[in-house]
Symmetry: C2
Subunit: 414 residues, 2 copies
């Protein structure tokens, strides 16, 4: 039984994590939040207090830490007595925070793969380049590390596992992520633009016929007719979970599809073609060295500013195909979330909500012992049912369509 | 009889001016070129020598000068013995260079109105805000100043005057500027992007029914069926010559139409809506203060780099409507120029060519005495016929279509 949570990061997802931890502090114990900028942590705690989110009286504290400094993170773990660390800081700090957990024995949870700030696009299998190199050490020391436990990666990995468990054999996993919401701005990204654009400026890697294949972004698009949000166009993109699912289910084709409207693609294409999404500095006529992407980030709306006016729904799910009892079998496992409801509950938009709720569910499963693996795991390696049970209860219910898209629609456990 | 030319500026237009002055140094005498960056002047002189452009042996010299420093310009006029100054520097230096001419008695020629770097868009009548305030002083001192003597403004003002001279009464002047050429790049501006975009980020002022009216950029577009280039879409824009023509012909409606392809408009619209065309500095997450427009300029191709691969033609002309002998009468006065021919002759693209040839024609008319007005004039106040005669000879022949667009097509003096 592990207790007391340290949240690393103070962005939009961290805000959701803090609210959800507070709502479940009877299970999780003390709640600490730490980032480079103390005032951002304090603002999040203020919002938790405003919504009276704490289930019972308890510790709720903000701290300053440089998460790139592993020793400082380890010291903070020691000082706070946290046994569970939820890392929702920038994708550049995974390895230093993980090292601090290995050092102290705290359980580690994150929601995205480690990235090297100097690289745009890693080569497959991503986790193998950084996190998985520490797997043996985690096992040896009995340290629990649950990788990629956001929505995608995270919940969608559990969806895949759940669907595959219904089958004799899996043939393909197509993950579809549609945000059918509208923020009312000319253009904005739902996450930090620097991270958001990086997802789409690199090569699209996917797993097909037992091997890695490559496409360009926006090269392959198709319309998906989905529950609630209707027909939406999505494009094959690279995404973390393709890499772990392809490793754990090499017999299945694994693809990720991200929904984009024509307007988003147009703006993205203009910026990319002009070179404005580059992280390589350019020099102005006046001799100033500037990274164009940082200027684009500076002119775009702050993602957290979108929340109050965000309307509409997201639909994220897995279409999994295989065989059962000798016959073809398909199932679509999915969740629909609502931007406005997310804002009313935790003051965040739906994209942050879907990313921030699952790692709290994972933390609760570590606290209860059900997911306290004492080694490093991706989400599809864990039993999905207790995860879905908690997600149902804390805001992200799982539904299935048996027979594939448009099939009999019901709760996962109905 | 004035002689010896000092060219201010060393950009793409200055290169054309230098070549054309050299080709006509029997009339113009010594040729001097000066800008902030001496090496840019020297590169232009090198290109003049490469093409063996000098008509006869003579002085061809480069100088360094800060054109914002009126006394330094006056000193250079004194040192070089220049009696004619062709100012094709940035639009921010008009007034200091004009002051130096008034101080020294040299004739002044420019190709665009003065701009205040801190303002995006002046209010009408533009010339009235700066240049025309010096008109009395020019007259008093007998200083010749020919304002806006590029193509547009410049040649198109002479086209209007020529057409109006054929009529009893003028009703409207529509100036149409189409660049039907292609530079083969994803996106580029033909002039310095900072100046180019400023033309389209402000209010579109035009003169109709005896008063100034306003539109937004791209609000009003129409297809024009033009000689050689065919049907092209152009949009009402603000432009210098609207302001002087409206003052000199207040009875006529005066509008300016600039041709834009859908791709240009799309890129422009994305950049403008995102705030990337702003001259107001933004602060990056790292605290660096940056003017977005300067970063856009840094990532775009250098306009002079477009010349070698530029293909296709420009068509710029005036559709002038009025009455003659009691009946409605229309005439279209125009020029067609070719990017490739311009590059072969002077190493520049067609847009720089059309802007750079006319001020040299004006200088030749000042040298001959025909346009040595001893006061300040806009081009429509001068006799257009000797101007057309020189332009015919040095690369920009004038044609007319009697009866309006699609009418009987002939040389202006046929």
């Amino acid at each position: 039984m592990k207790q007391n949570v340290l949240i690393i990061g103070a962005g939009g997802v961290a805000q959701v994590v803090a609210h959800k931890c507070a709502q479940n502090n009877d299970v999780l114990g003390d709640i600490h939040i730490a980032s480079r900028t103390l005032s951002k942590c304090e603002a999040i705690l203020e919002s938790v207090r405003e919504k009276a989110a704490m289930k019972r009286e308890g510790v709720l504290e903000a701290h300053q830490v440089d998460a790139m400094d592993s020793k400082a993170v380890a010291a903070l773990i020691g000082k706070t007595g946290a046994q569970i660390v939820i890392n929702v800081g920038s994708a550049f700090v995974n390895m230093t925070v993980l090292d601090a957990c290995i050092e102290t024995g705290a359980a580690y949870i994150d929601t995205a793969i480690h990235e090297d700030p100097t690289k745009i696009c890693e080569t497959p299998p991503w986790y193998g380049n950084y996190e998985w190199k520490k797997r043996d050490l985690c096992a040896e020391k009995g340290v629990t590390a649950i990788l990629g436990a956001g929505f995608d990666p995270g919940v969608v990995n559990a969806y895949a596992r759940f669907a595959i468990d219904m089958m004799d054999e899996v043939k393909s996993i197509d993950i579809v992520d549609i945000n059918a919401g509208s923020h009312g701005k000319y253009f904005a990204t739902n996450f930090d633009p620097e991270i958001n654009f990086r997802e789409f400026t690199g090569t699209v890697y996917y797993w097909e016929d037992g091997q890695w294949k490559e496409k360009k972004m926006f090269e392959s698009g198709r319309d998906w007719d989905l529950p609630v949000v209707g027909t939406c166009r999505a494009y094959q993109s690279g995404h973390d979970e393709v890499h772990s699912l392809a490793t754990n289910y090499p017999e299945a084709d694994v693809r990720f599809w991200m929904g984009f409207g024509e307007h988003y693609i147009n703006v993205f294409t203009v910026l990319q073609n002009l070179g404005l999404l580059s992280e390589q500095p350019v020099k102005t006529a006046e001799g100033l060295e500037v990274v164009p992407l940082k200027v684009v980030k500076a002119v775009l709306p702050d993602p957290s500013s979108l929340a109050p006016n965000y309307e509409g729904k997201t639909c994220i799910g897995d279409l999994v195909k295989g065989t059962k009892d000798g016959k073809d079998f398909e199932v679509f496992v999915y969740n629909v979330a609502d931007h406005k409801e997310a804002y009313e509950e935790v003051g965040s938009q739906g994209i942050s909500y879907t990313a921030g709720v699952p790692p709290v569910a994972a933390a609760m499963l570590i606290a209860s012992g059900e997911w306290d693996a004492k080694t490093m795991k991706n989400v599809e390696e864990m039993d999905p049912k207790p995860f879905f049970s908690i997600l149902d209860r804390i805001g992200l219910p799982t539904r299935v369509q048996i027979g594939g898209l448009g099939g009999e629609d019901k709760a996962w456990d109905a």
